[in-house]
């Protein structure tokens, strides 16, 4: 057996043990940087490289060389080609080369009933043409545009996946895929790009019944989107959670939680655990999270790690809590002390995967030496 294959097996075993409720040899590490960070780190031009992917492997390889992790440390999610072809208003590249998501309203408040009656029809007939202006054309132009965008999407994503697979093999990373699927909480789906933050905040008070019905209507779409062709208990479907911390608890319980819970339960019944990114502070919802199927992976941004471990740490797998901002502002010793503090709280009993509270967006948003030092510290010292 090659050294890298053995390394893959050892790293997989760390995750298998965590998932199966056993104590692993060491706390596994699952951190990633986005494509933009990797391009900057390699000293390449952000705009040019996102349009021309020939250097992607070399750029990702440099991240693999310099950052110690158990899963591949760089992840590509979006490229500009299909957004540009479609005339996107919801993902727009800035002059600096970053794809940004401005506040948008893809669905008018008067269109709730259309969405509730048939969400996928409403998406294709009304929402997409509003957010992607090149789909708001005659039928022939629209068909040609969609065909080009579809081709671009699968070319770009396919290339990035091929690069990742090569690097996983080259460096012996775990093949456990924490983001094997992707979907959203039904309420967040209605909020994010359909009604927008401003629109949904008003709707919750003015038309709560419509919001509730729209979330119910979105649930089957999220379930279908979130179940990959081959579900696995060692993989998971990534669900970034957005709006709950901005809701009153009574609104959360009526409008957000029921369909979100059904989604996570439905994915679990299909054999696919969920990997939740609990953005902002979810501490007041810990009792709700405890109700979700066992072994839900939950990455916390802010909050109290002791409270989370106490309330859900025996049932679910915890990630996050390490403030990425400290990597920028702290001394190396302060950064290592924070890693030790979190490991002491979250590692006992297993069910813990080390990660930061979020990925660094740009190279200058962190001190790279501190980032590397923390990862090396965990890899060498977080043994059971």
């Amino acid at each position: 057996m090659s050294d890298t294959l053995q390394l893959t097996q050892e790293r997989n075993q760390l995750f298998y043990d965590v998932i199966e409720g056993k104590i692993p040899k060491r706390v596994p590490i699952a951190v990633t940087v986005p494509t933009e960070f990797a391009i900057q780190y390699a000293g390449e031009d952000l705009t040019e490289t996102q349009w021309n992917n020939v250097k992607l492997e070399e750029i990702f390889d440099k991240i693999c060389q310099d950052f110690v992790t158990d899963t591949i440390p760089v992840k590509a999610l979006r490229f500009p080609s299909w957004y540009k072809i479609l005339g996107s208003k919801n993902w727009v590249m800035s002059s600096g080369g970053f794809l940004q998501h401005p506040e948008v309203e893809g669905m008018a408040i008067e269109e709730y009933d259309d969405f509730i009656a048939n969400p996928y029809n409403c998406i294709l007939e009304k929402i997409l043409p509003r957010l992607y202006v090149n789909l708001d054309k005659d039928a022939t132009t629209k068909a040609m545009t969609l065909a080009k965008a579809f081709k671009a999407f699968f070319d770009e994503v396919g290339h990035a996946r091929m690069v990742s697979a090569k690097l996983i093999q080259k460096y012996g990373y775990a093949t456990v895929n924490l983001t094997a699927g992707f979907c959203e909480a039904p309420f967040d789906f209605v909020a994010d790009q359909l009604r927008g933050f401003k629109g949904i905040s008003t709707d919750v008070r003015r038309v709560p019944d419509k919001v509730e019905a729209a979330s119910e209507a979105a649930l089957p779409l999220m379930l279908k989107a979130g179940i990959p062709p081959v579900p696995s208990k060692y993989g998971s479907t990534f669900i970034p959670l957005h709006m709950a911390p901005y809701l009153r608890t009574k609104d959360f319980e009526k409008l957000y939680w029921p369909t979100f819970k059904k989604l996570v339960e439905g994915l679990a019944e299909a054999g696919m655990p969920s990997f939740l990114f609990a953005e902002q502070d979810w501490m007041r919802y810990l009792d709700h999270l405890e109700e979700l199927p066992e072994n839900t992976r939950i990455m916390f941004e802010y909050g109290d790690p002791k409270l989370a471990k106490e309330k859900i740490g025996k049932k679910h797998i915890i990630l996050g809590f390490y403030p990425i901002s400290l990597i920028k502002t702290g001394t190396k010793q302060q950064c290592l002390d924070k890693a030790k503090e979190l490991i002491d709280i979250l590692a006992p009993g297993g069910k813990y995967i080390f990660s930061f509270d979020k990925s660094p967006v740009t190279v200058d948003s962190i001190n790279v030496e501190n980032y590397q030092a923390v990862l090396e510290y965990v890899a060498l010292n977080a043994n059971y």
């Binding site: 579809f150 992707f182 979907c183 789906f189 994010d192 790009q193 359909l194 279908k224």
Partner: protein, 49 residues
Amino acid sequence: MKINSDYYKTFEEFLAAHPEIDAKQAMAMAPKIQGYEDQMFGFIMFLLF
């Protein structure tokens, strides 16, 4: 999983609209036709994620 829409068809619905397809062809083409339908669904949804 079935999605009720004018723009999503399961292979069974596709087959019902194409009576010229015989059983042998149907069996051979089913995974590919269904796969493209699901890929397009995935792409459309990703545009709103």
